[in-house]
Symmetry: C2
Subunit: 152 residues, 2 copies
DNA sequence: GTATATGCAAAGGGTTTGCACGGTT
DNA sequence: AACCGTGCAAACCCTTTGCATATAC
């Protein structure tokens, strides 16, 4: 069930309340993280007729009214999450493709410093760092290779 | 002219020396930052016959042997740069689309802290932060709107 | 009733791949 | 001479768009 006042937020933005919009919002909240495609699948579990383009249009709209955000986790599709989640930054492992989250406060001091020196105001909800997760940076982790395709 | 030992680095990786590879490397170094497409244009200024797929294949290869890196600056195409550039992180303005760079040392302490608490080893060369640049976060900057398309 | 949302299908970027030819070793 | 790299064209994934129909208001 979407956060309490979602309908109001849509109306304030001049948008209508539709079943699809409710479904997209629910899917995002249920998934935690999800690409447009994954969100479609989630939505279709209960409503098979919904179209991918509707997902895209509504994610864009929901982001505009402030109910979801997205960040780019690397090559592929972006990831959407609902705004009432704890604000977090993404850690994307380049070896095993794992994505983990850490509370954004760990970056706060750094970003404040950055703002003072450069004037750049970072959108903390968009941060994704590439690197190697704990298991994959361990001296010789067999896990690393297994989790992904062994080639490459 | 590519960094001194590039030919060696290719050979060590089991790759051959070709004119195209030299051209791609030169283009990346000349451009500083560039998407595959921009790199193609740069290459074609001197060699019109080179194909986009060759650019992709060679960027991937050059990255594998450690001569270039790339980072994702948002929605579109990734950006490549040569590794002997100063290591820097990208600041991408979501309003005016400007991309600026700051020396990566500003993030070092933060990333070290992150490593200690989570075990995640960040690839510092891949960092791109989304946000608002100095001019666009100024109270009411007219610049911001002008630099981009006014719609949206 | 009117304007907005939706579904569908086609088009659009960016990237990858299969294949025959040409170049490097 | 053998194999790798290239150009070309087709295929692919993700996203956007045009249009007629359906729906919220």
């Amino acid at each position: 069930m979407p956060s309490a006042h979602w309908e109001q937020q849509l109306r304030l933005g001049g948008y209508r309340i539709t079943p699809q919009r409710r479904l997209v919002l629910e899917a995002v909240e249920r998934l935690g993280h999800g690409s447009p495609d994954e969100i479609l699948s989630e939505v279709q579990r209960t409503s098979a007729g919904v179209n991918l383009s509707t997902i895209y249009r509504n994610l864009e709209m929901l982001e505009e009214v402030g109910l979801v955000t997205h960040s780019h986790l690397g090559h592929g599709a972006p990831t959407y999450h609902s705004v009432d989640d704890h604000v977090h930054i993404h850690l994307v492992c380049g070896i095993c493709d794992d994505v983990s989250s850490v509370d954004a406060v760990v970056a706060q001091e750094f970003l404040e410093q950055l703002r003072l020196t450069t004037g750049f105001v970072t959108d903390i909800t968009h941060i994704a760092l590439q690197g190697r997760c704990a298991s994959c940076s361990a001296p010789d982790s067999a896990v690393a290779v297994d989790k992904k395709h062994a080639d490459h």
